[in-house]
Amino acid sequence: MAGDAGRPVLKVRDLTVEFATEDGVIRAVDSVSFDVLPNETLGLVGESGCGKTVTGLAMLRLIPMPPGRIASGSIELDGRDLVPLPNRDLEDLRGRDISMIFQEPMTALNPVFTIGNQMTDVLCRHRDLTRRQARPVAAELLAKVGIPEPADRLEDYPHQLSGGMRQRVMIAMALSCNPKLLIADEPTTALDVTTQAQVLEQFRVLQAEFRMAVVLVTHDLGVVAETCQRALVMYCGSIVESGTTADLFSRPRHPYTAGLLASIPRLRSERLAELPVIPGRVPDLLNLPAGCRFADRCPRVQERCRAERPVLTGRDSGVACHFPL
């Protein structure tokens, strides 16, 4: 299931997102550039707070504004820049060309409307259907994501479903208009392990069927290894390394990536306590160091790292490090 070569579905260039807080302006995403190719699954990995979720939200311009704003950069979907797009056009696009599913299935659905109601809302919005026509379509979609007795489920309210079921409903909604690109923000984090596996499997099947590109935002390297062809590693708002999943996992070049990989528990490792941990803490986003942002935690830090900020060496496959592994 290798990504088809060709024009990227999504081209992100120099994307910078800032948040105005009480204490000053925070740059949550700092000059991020990447491409998403048709049909591929791109992983966006990093610790929480590294800016990966904000990047995902920025793809749909869902960042709450204010306090957030896209300070610069472009997000081109099929050659059309979303950043300057008027809200109305953007609304037409959301859910149709580009969809998103969220981490928390418990709260992401509106508790006072039925599943069917919420699904038909989306269907009627983007496909030329009446409410009556939309219902069987919605049921069909639910069946596709593996929900039994879909017609009955349409009458249910979200609180009547389990977490896994709800996430499937979200997926069904996201797929309902056959989007070119799907942003999945930690879609399985809130689920238990068994459900997680089921949902991911479903995900893969559906991706093949719907032939869409997926950006999978996650902190879970295991999920990336299983699902993604390529991955971007983010740290403090910037991409520190990019490459194919295989390359990243076998030959990490950024010390941070290496650290992340080392901290994954493997079946072989005897005791959890012996797992290596990246020392130190993520720097305060308000007072970022001038040089490499990983410098304080890096075992290989040198004088240059503190003075000069490294740049990513290549877009599809590169590393932002003066002294890569």
């Binding site: 504004m65 704003r69 896209i70 610069s72 950043v83 300057p84 809200n87 109305r88 609304e91």
Partner: protein
């Protein structure tokens, strides 16, 4: 660098604005309907057809009940004397006030010893038609109705308020009450000789008896109505007066003409008409015609004088009102005599009437701090203290700030509206003398440290509070520390009455309205046996005064009696038992299309049946005509 902002999505705006637009157009529609329906100054008569002559006027309070047995309050009395008949009433235009027969044919014949009164009632007078009568048709008013009505004042079941007028005066009446107020039992002193002749026997001479029969308490109530409506009579009067009740709530009372009211053409001369002072009112137009002249009578109860004033000035919402004191400077061109500024004179008539009553502040002599004291020396110093406070009181300022200089302050307790008033009396007791007061205090050993604390009781209210603050400031001038003059407020008149009646207030500031034009009515306020809970709130007991009072109370009006009154008045003054007093002036304004000489003293609402309206509307301000 591009800054992405959220643009106004047109759809959202349109949704919101369609909503707002609808709302606004709804408002406009409401206002349109409203203006089409004649929103402007609505004719206060509401549903009444324009052909009906309606007179609406403002009073500052609502009556609490319309049952004559509880007709103590002036507002209730206004309605009661128009719904019911009394044996006597007052001449419409005579000042000072003079009695005249109303339901009685004439003044009573009195036996030589002054104990037996015989009254003759008019024949053919009927109660209004009401379901309480057989067949719904009002029956004739007879002497028994009067007896029944007086008995009601002695039946505790009714919580009567007027019994004190006849208590201990009419033979057998108190015994009748003591025996359980059984209406089937006769009262020896009240006898119907025939249907239209009544005899009253007294225990001792009571020169004021006839005057008490002009009060609402003595109004004739048909037994059938009491039996049918019980307490409901308070909201449903059934009488034989010039008007009958249409509706009654806390905001207004509406009455309509009693179509069967007896025909009695007005004789202005007999009503005490004085062309020199009353011609302006156009009252000559009613000469020879039978009242009532208006079809509907509306009493509007408006507490806020500002509101009643705007109602009055804006159109014919209210056609007659008392001029609020705060408007006096704006409206009056001169105070003595009362005349209006031209812009008001073009629209309104004005009449200033001196109150038949007064306002005074009595010391409660029960308080040893400044009243009676076991120590004769202290009692003597207390008297000096009271006299000093009298000297410190500033009647001039009080009159200026509260009555715009229109009130009349006078020494003693015989009010100017009493026939026995003595204009020659020395005004020393109402002339402020701060130096004299300070000297008096000093000479009698009073210092800021040993002066007693004076508690000044009032009801809750702005005016009352300002009265107090003014009083405190005056007392500070004569040497009282601020902390020694304190106010005590009571929620309502009932509560402060309780304090008075229980002798719990050191300083009693109150007003008294005359029940009849006889100084006896105010002199009894200091009669020893009337001490609390009676009307002698000062609890003053002076043997000489009490003896003179008893001596005078059985005398018919005469120079001898007047001389006794004057002696009593002087005793009150000499003992400095009260800071007294002032009679206020009420200024009435009314639209020029109204023919009336209004008043509310003693007369109560008797004058309302003589009110007439000129045909032209009030708002075309009678152009030059009235001026």
């Amino acid at each position: 660098m591009k800054i992405v902002g959220k643009k106004f999505p047109r759809k959202a705006i349109s949704v919101l604005f369609v909503g707002l637009n609808r709302l606004i157009s709804a408002f406009l529609a409401i206002f349109l309907v409203c203006s089409l329906a004649g929103c402007g100054p609505p004719s206060g008569s509401g549903a009444a057809s324009p052909a009906l002559k309606t007179f609406h006027f403002a009073m500052d309070q609502a009556p609490t009940t319309l049952d004559p047995v509880q007709g103590a309050n002036i507002y209730a009395n206004f309605v009661i004397v128009n719904a019911y008949d009394t044996l006597y009433s007052y001449q419409y235009l005579a000042r000072p006030y003079l009695l005249k027969p109303n339901l009685a044919v004439d003044f009573p014949t009195v036996s030589a010893d002054g104990l037996i009164y015989t009254f003759r009632l008019k024949k053919g007078v009927r109660f209004i038609d009401d379901p309480c009568f057989p067949g719904g048709r009002g029956r004739e008013v007879v002497a028994e109705d009067f007896i029944y009505s007086i008995k009601r004042q002695f039946d505790p079941e009714n919580q009567p308020q007027g019994a004190w007028l006849w208590q201990g005066r009419i033979t057998g009446l108190d015994e009748w009450k003591a025996a359980g107020s059984d209406y089937a039992q006769p009262v020896s002193g009240l006898r119907a000789i025939d249907e239209h002749t009544l005899e009253i026997r007294l225990t001792r001479p009571y020169p004021q008896l006839t005057a008490t029969l002009a009060q609402g308490y003595s109004a004739l109530v048909p037994r059938e109505a009491v039996e049918k409506y019980g307490k409901g009579l308070g909201v449903r009067p059934v009488g034989s007066g010039p008007f009958r009740l249409v509706s009654y709530d806390t905001a207004r009372v509406v009455m309509e003409r009693n179509p069967n009211y007896r025909q009695e053409p007005v004789d202005l001369a007999a009503e005490g008409y004085n062309p020199a002072t009353q011609k302006f009112s156009g009252v000559e137009a009613i000469q020879g015609r039978s009242p009532p002249f208006i079809d509907r009578l509306e009493f509007n109860f408006i507490n806020e004088s500002s509101a009643s004033w705007s109602s009055f000035t804006k159109g014919d919402e209210v056609q007659l009102t008392v001029l609020p004191i705060e408007q006096i400077d704006r409206v009056l061109a001169s105070k003595r005599p009362v005349t209006l500024r031209p812009e008001y004179a073009a629209k309104y008539h004005v009449y200033g009437g001196l109150e038949a009553g007064f306002v005074f502040t009595a010391f409660n002599m029960d308080y040893p701090e400044f009243g009676y004291n076991p120590d004769p020396e202290r009692e003597r110093r207390n008297q000096a203290l009271r006299c000093a406070m009298l000297k410190g009181y500033d009647w001039e300022a009080r009159n200026h700030s509260w009555y715009f200089g229109l009130g009349e302050y006078f020494p003693g307790i015989i009010v100017p509206a009493s026939p026995e008033f003595d204009p020659a009396l020395s005004r020393a007791s109402v002339t402020r003398d701060v130096a004299g007061a300070r000297k008096l205090l000093k000479d009698n050993g009073w210092t800021p440290d040993n002066l007693p604390t004076i508690v000044y009781g009032t009801t809750a209210g702005t005016t009352e509070r300002l009265f107090f603050e003014q009083f405190r400031a005056w007392m500070r001038d004569i040497g009282f520390p601020r902390a020694k003059v304190v106010q005590k407020t009571y929620a309502n008149f009932g509560d402060i009455s309780r304090a008075w009646k229980r002798s719990q207030l050191p300083l009693v500031a109150k007003g008294w309205g005359l029940d009849y034009p006889d100084a006896e009515n105010t002199l009894q306020l200091f009669y020893g046996p009337n001490a609390s809970p009676g009307s002698n709130d000062a609890n003053w007991k002076n043997p000489e005064y009490d003896r003179l009072y008893e001596e005078s109370s059985v005398l018919q009006p005469s120079p001898e009696r007047t001389a006794l009154y004057h002696r009593m008045n002087q005793i009150v003054l000499d003992d400095c038992v009260a800071i007294t007093g002032i009679s206020r002036t009420r200024i009435y304004l009314w639209h020029k299309n109204v023919i009336a000489v209004p008043d509310r003293e003693i007369l109560g609402g008797f004058w309302l049946k003589y009110v007439d309206l000129k045909p032209e509307p009030a708002n075309i301000p009678a152009l030059v005509k009235g001026g």
